[in-house]
């Protein structure tokens, strides 16, 4: 699809989604749309680094949790307005991305080793937030209830909807631009073949740093939203495996490295969990089992995700990403 067409489709899709609060009055249904958008935001954030950048992260909770804790701590300990906390949270998460990126990309860490290191960083943050008082240690943080728009808390779900809609739309627009820019072309070149890209003048380190910082920024925004929506945070929620897994599951199922993948993935995952809830009931763990099964099936049979399904049907084999020495050091 040509990029201007993609933009058109993007605007139309998000325009349609924007109608949701007008058409859906039941709060619980609106909640599903909100959570789907939130998952799409998280997934799109991961997609920037993992799909377009080719650096698979197993610890995206590191950025999510930083955003969440930032907005919470700023409010609770310093009385700073959460809208300001939103911006600070995003940039704090981005800074964490810069740090992790600097430690790893500087030394050429790639592939599976990179994935494991990101996991370790998220764990380190979890342990730290579990031991330090101003993050509430193991007990966590409760954001005081004060429903007002100025306070980033809303009386009805509609308010939250608009915020998440705006954030997710911004993320998708950003990714559209990535796919249609010099930065994106260079990023994808590094993903597909770092040596060849460098031989053409691409500064692989700078480009990967840009990707991880953008990715961290949007994941941080998702964290801020979570904190304000649920008003409770603890180390497991913020930096635990659940968020890291969700952020990679969504784009992988929907299609890594594609613009619409995260939206498809989020819809599929949420649709699946609603379906399983209807059929099997609220049994603990079952929806996650389904997610796991879906992940395995996807990797085995549909490695390009839902968005890539059409290319499987097209004549001619779609190119599989090359692996030279995908693991370890350059």
């Amino acid at each position: 699809m040509k990029s201007t067409n993609k933009l058109l489709v993007l605007i139309v899709v998000f325009g349609l989604i924007a109608l949701a609060p007008l058409l859906i009055t039941q709060e619980s249904l609106l909640n599903i749309v909100i959570m789907t958008l939130y998952a799409a935001l998280l997934g799109q954030a991961w997609n920037i680094l993992g799909g377009y950048g080719g650096q698979v992260s197993f610890g995206h909770a590191a950025y999510f949790g930083t955003g969440a804790y930032t907005v919470a701590v700023l409010q609770i300990q310093f009385g700073i307005n959460p809208w300001i906390g939103l911006a600070v949270g995003g940039f704090a998460a981005s800074a964490v991305g810069a740090f992790i990126g600097f430690c790893t990309f500087r030394y050429g860490l790639r592939g599976s080793y990179f994935a494991l290191v990101t996991l370790a960083f998220a764990e380190v943050l979890r342990i730290l937030s579990n031991s330090v008082d101003f993050t509430g240690a193991g007990v966590g943080l409760l954001i005081p209830l004060e429903r007002s728009a100025a306070n980033f808390q809303f009386l009805t779900k509609a308010g939250f909807f608009w915020v998440i809609w705006a954030m997710t739309f911004a993320a998708f627009l950003t990714v559209w631009k990535i796919g249609n820019s010099r930065f994106g072309a260079q990023l994808m070149a590094v993903r597909d073949n770092e040596d060849a890209a460098r031989a053409l003048g691409v500064d692989a380190f700078r480009v990967k740093m840009g990707a991880i910082m953008l990715s961290g920024f949007f994941a941080g925004l998702a964290g801020v939203f979570y904190a304000q929506y649920f008003l409770y945070l603890d180390p497991y929620i913020a930096y635990g495996a659940a968020i890291s897994v969700e952020s990679l599951l969504v784009p992988i199922i929907g299609g890594m490295g594609t613009l619409f993948g995260p939206l498809l993935g989020a819809a599929a995952l949420h649709g699946l969990s609603e379906l399983s809830r209807a059929v099997i009931g609220d049994a603990p763990g079952i929806s996650l089992v389904l997610y796991g099964v879906l992940l395995v099936i996807m990797v085995l049979f549909v490695p390009r995700g839902l968005a890539g399904l059409s290319s499987h049907l097209r004549v001619g084999k779609p190119a599989t990403p090359k692996t030279e020495e995908g693991k370890g050091h350059a």
């Binding site: 698979v56 860490l109 370790a120 380190v124 992940l295 990797v299 085995l300």
Partner: protein
């Protein structure tokens, strides 16, 4: 500053814990050394083993150490099947796909366990659960010392298998040069699956030796995964000696960390080591250059 009367027992305790960790890491390093895959499902499989040992004890009164005759072979079969049926087909040329598939498997296994067993923590009650042995003035729990010895024995057995049996030679050949090994008639799929099965069997041994001094719930695997990876990376991917030495080091680091930094920060040392080793010396202490 804690004095030597506390430090030495702490170190000894760390060593015995480290022996257990090493046992878990042995399987992981074998799997990596031969198949070059990072098995993310390692922790979840350990948890399955622990549940198996638990139920053998709870339903049939079988002592965990006796279960050594049952659980490891069963785990071997499971590992063989997983590699042959699922993991072996996943790579599509990208290493990360294997990581993702094993991640998917671990999610499935952990949550199935959650669904069937709920999240209660269970322990076994054996007559020796609380016995202690005195070594160098420290009182060490009997089950942990047994586990330590068990780790050494298992490593020795693995080494013997690798160096003196046909299977071991086939495994080493395949690990070194896949095409060449296939050309001399080695069935790669079968031998790979045998290797994976062996690695998972090690987890079976670990489960039998671990449960008397530990516990089981569906989340138990997660705690071991990163620690096992840290040990494997520290010791060198594919090195048994490395897994043993690495395990002991990490056990001591954890004990010292808990002593000096307190309970909640204790594990921090482990992950910091992990990150530093991956960045500055990814081949680890005993590993070969990739």
């Amino acid at each position: 500053m804690p004095d030597s009367a506390i430090i030495i027992p702490s170190i000894l305790n760390g060593l015995t814990t480290g022996g257990l960790y090493a046992l878990v890491a042995l399987g992981l390093t074998l799997i990596y050394g031969v198949l070059h895959i990072i098995n993310f499902a390692h922790g979840a499989l350990l948890m399955l083993g622990l549940y198996a040992v638990y139920f053998l004890n709870a339903q049939f009164g079988i002592d965990p150490y006796v279960a050594l005759l049952i659980v490891p072979p069963a785990m071997f079969a499971l590992g063989y099947g997983l590699q042959r049926g699922i993991i072996g087909r996943a790579s599509h040329g990208r290493d990360e796909n294997i990581l993702l598939v094993t991640l998917g498997l671990s999610i499935i296994i952990e949550n199935l366990a959650l669904f069937f067993f709920r999240s209660d923590t269970r322990t076994v009650d054996t007559p020796y659960s609380f016995d202690v042995i005195e070594i160098f003035g420290a009182f060490l729990p009997y089950p942990k010392v047994v586990a330590f010895v068990g780790a050494l024995v298992t490593a020795a057995l693995l080494w013997l298998l690798m160096s003196h049996t046909d299977l071991g030679r086939a495994i080493r050949a395949l690990a070194k040069e896949r095409k060449g090994a296939q050309l001399v008639g080695i069935d790669a799929d079968h031998v790979f699956a045998m290797s994976f099965g062996l690695g998972v069997a090690c987890l079976g041994v670990a489960a039998c030796l671990l449960l008397p001094s530990y516990y089981v719930n569906p989340q138990v695997g997660g705690g071991f995964v990163l620690i096992a990876f840290t040990i494997v990376v520290l010791g060198g991917m594919g090195s048994f000696v490395g897994a043993l030495v690495g395990g002991l080091i990490i056990g001591v680091v954890e004990a010292m960390g808990g002593l000096f930094l307190g309970e909640s920060l204790g594990q921090l040392g482990i992950f910091v080591i992990f990150i530093l080793v991956l960045i500055f010396r990814p081949t680890g202490l005993f590993g070969a250059k990739a």
